[in-house]
């Protein structure tokens, strides 16, 4: 069984979580070209290194972010999205 550490609920069985894919920048729909908007919708980070991605702890419906190595599957850290906002 693989364990993922939820920032709110602590270490839990990974079956309790749902992956929502890599974090994307939020482009402004008013100023973004159609081409860039399509790119925003259909492309996602697919690098072999560390990706930052959205996860949800399903029973508590809590969304958070994880840094995970997409080749070794090592989870480097998980954190609350507010950290990201604070960093911006």
């Amino acid at each position: 069984m693989k364990i993922l550490t939820c920032p709110m609920n602590g270490p839990r069985n990974i079956n309790e979580f749902q992956s929502f894919g890599p974090l994307k920048a939020n482009p402004d729909p008013e100023t973004t070209s159609d081409q860039d908007w399509a790119r925003h919708l259909f492309r996602a980070d697919n690098t072999r290194g560390v990706i930052v991605e959205w996860w949800r702890h399903v029973p508590s419906n809590y969304f958070f972010l994880a840094e995970r190595n997409a080749t070794t599957n090592e989870v480097i850290r998980t954190f609350d999205p507010s950290e990201l906002e604070a960093a911006q």
């Binding site: 992956s19 894919g21 890599p22 399509a38 697919n46 991605e53 997409a70 080749t71």
Partner: protein, 413 residues
């Protein structure tokens, strides 16, 4: 049956000759360089050499022949898709499998035993009706069947009457089948190399030299070569390979796991899959029950197997066929799938003039081996995308002309 087989059977000196020549030295230049020695690349080489007279072709394979996703899929061949473009394409794929052993003079063990997809809910049944009508309109053999017919088609099934997973009907696709994956790749490789195509194993593409929107040189670990036209068909490595040419594909990579049981006497006479259980089963010609399901739930570049997925597949398989509970697993494996946002492949042109894409095959590439090879060869020979492939252009993601096959692909087929 090819007559050659019969001759072998009657001969005292069984002629053991290799089908594929040893890897030669690289020449300085080729008309066509195919990156990827899997089923798709080899099929394209076959069609280029046989039907377009192009034999100055190099197939470059990083590992050994057909050792990637050609060897890791579960060899389902079918055309029960939902978009008209998808059905037309996969339908021809099935037809080419029907003729493949003759075409290649190589027994690919195509067994057209039909595919039965099970519905456990009314919602699934409604989607089956849509797929059946789309399929009939396109001229494929497909119909929605009731629970009684399901029982007749696959008598060992646990119908779970009155239970939460009661089988209330099915989608019967009698065109569906399976074939021997190694034989498909070997057959194409043998044919192509007999006509002068060079197959370079253990030859890794490290980069491309690009001038004025054209690939001029392909750099490999065995030397640099000039290329007239280049095709990329490297399965799970497509994203990385295209990036080496500066092309960013709308692809995310997920592992796909499968497993086989110990060999049993023949009892499972159709391909069976369940939408709700995310499990499908087929009995191989060796008697093993091949069990597969959906991709892993998060993206990863790894071919490890996980206990979670084994448990999930075993749970689905033993629910459908409870007597399998005592059967042992023989092997497990995984491949890396290059998933597109709409579950359809990306074929045809790229932003570079002489680079052609045969990518985004996710979990659905094996069945398309011959038809992708045929039309990619036509595309490369004419340097113009074959009409059959036009809907599958990468540009569809910029123009929102998606080909949504999500419901007819992956675990829920």
């Amino acid at each position: 049956m090819p007559l050659r087989l019969l001759k072998y059977g009657l001969s005292k000196d069984y002629p053991v000759t290799g089908d594929i020549p040893a890897t030669p030295d690289l020449k300085p230049s080729y008309d066509v360089v195919i990156v990827g020695g899997g089923g798709h690349g080899l099929a394209c080489a076959h069609y280029l050499s046989k039907y377009h007279g192009i034999t100055n072709v190099a197939v470059l394979e990083k590992g050994y022949l057909a050792g990637g996703n050609t060897a890791r899929n579960t060899t389902t061949i079918r055309s029960n898709y939902i978009t008209k473009e998808g059905i037309a394409f996969y339908k021809e794929g099935v037809q080419l499998y029907e003729e493949m052993s003759e075409e290649l003079d190589f027994n690919v063990m195509f067994s057209q035993r039909g595919q039965l997809t099970l519905a456990h809910t009314e919602a699934t049944l409604r989607s089956f009706h849509l797929r059946a009508e789309m399929g009939k309109h396109a001229g494929t053999n497909i119909e929605v069947v009731d629970a009684q017919t399901v029982k007749e088609l696959s008598p060992h099934l646990n119908m779970d009457e009155g239970g939460p997973l009661e089988i209330i009907g099915g989608l019967w696709h009698s065109d569906g089948g399976t074939a021997r994956h190694d034989a498909v790749a070997w057959g194409y490789a043998a044919q192509a190399s007999r006509r002068g195509v060079e197959i370079h194993q253990r030859t890794e593409v490290e980069g491309f030299d690009i001038e004025a929107g054209n690939i001029t040189k392909v750099r490999t670990n065995r030397g640099t070569i000039s290329a007239g036209q280049v095709m990329i068909a490297v399965g799970g490595m497509n994203y990385d390979m295209a990036l080496k040419a500066g092309v960013e594909l709308p692809i995310r990579c997920f592992p796909l796991q499968a497993m086989v049981t110990q060999p049993l006497k023949p009892w499972l006479h159709t391909l069976v899959s369940s939408v709700s259980l995310h499990t499908y089963l087929v009995q191989s010609s060796r008697g093993e029950i091949v069990i597969g399901g959906g991709s892993d739930p998060y993206q990863l570049y790894s071919t490890r197997s996980t206990l979670d997925m084994k448990e999930h597949l075993a749970e689905g398989a033993t629910h459908l066929f409870p007597f399998l509970h005592g059967v042992r697993l023989l092997r497990q494996w995984a491949g890396i799938t290059d998933m597109t946002p709409d579950y359809s492949p990306i074929m045809g042109a790229s932003p570079l003039k002489n680079l052609w894409l045969d990518c985004g095959w996710g979990t659905w590439g094996f069945k398309a081996t011959p038809v992708a090879g045929k039309y990619m060869a036509q595309t490369i020979a004419n340097q113009k995308v074959a009409p059959m492939l036009e809907p599958f252009t990468m540009e569809r993601f910029a123009t929102f002309d998606l080909l949504n096959e999500m419901g007819a692909t992956a675990a829920s087929h």
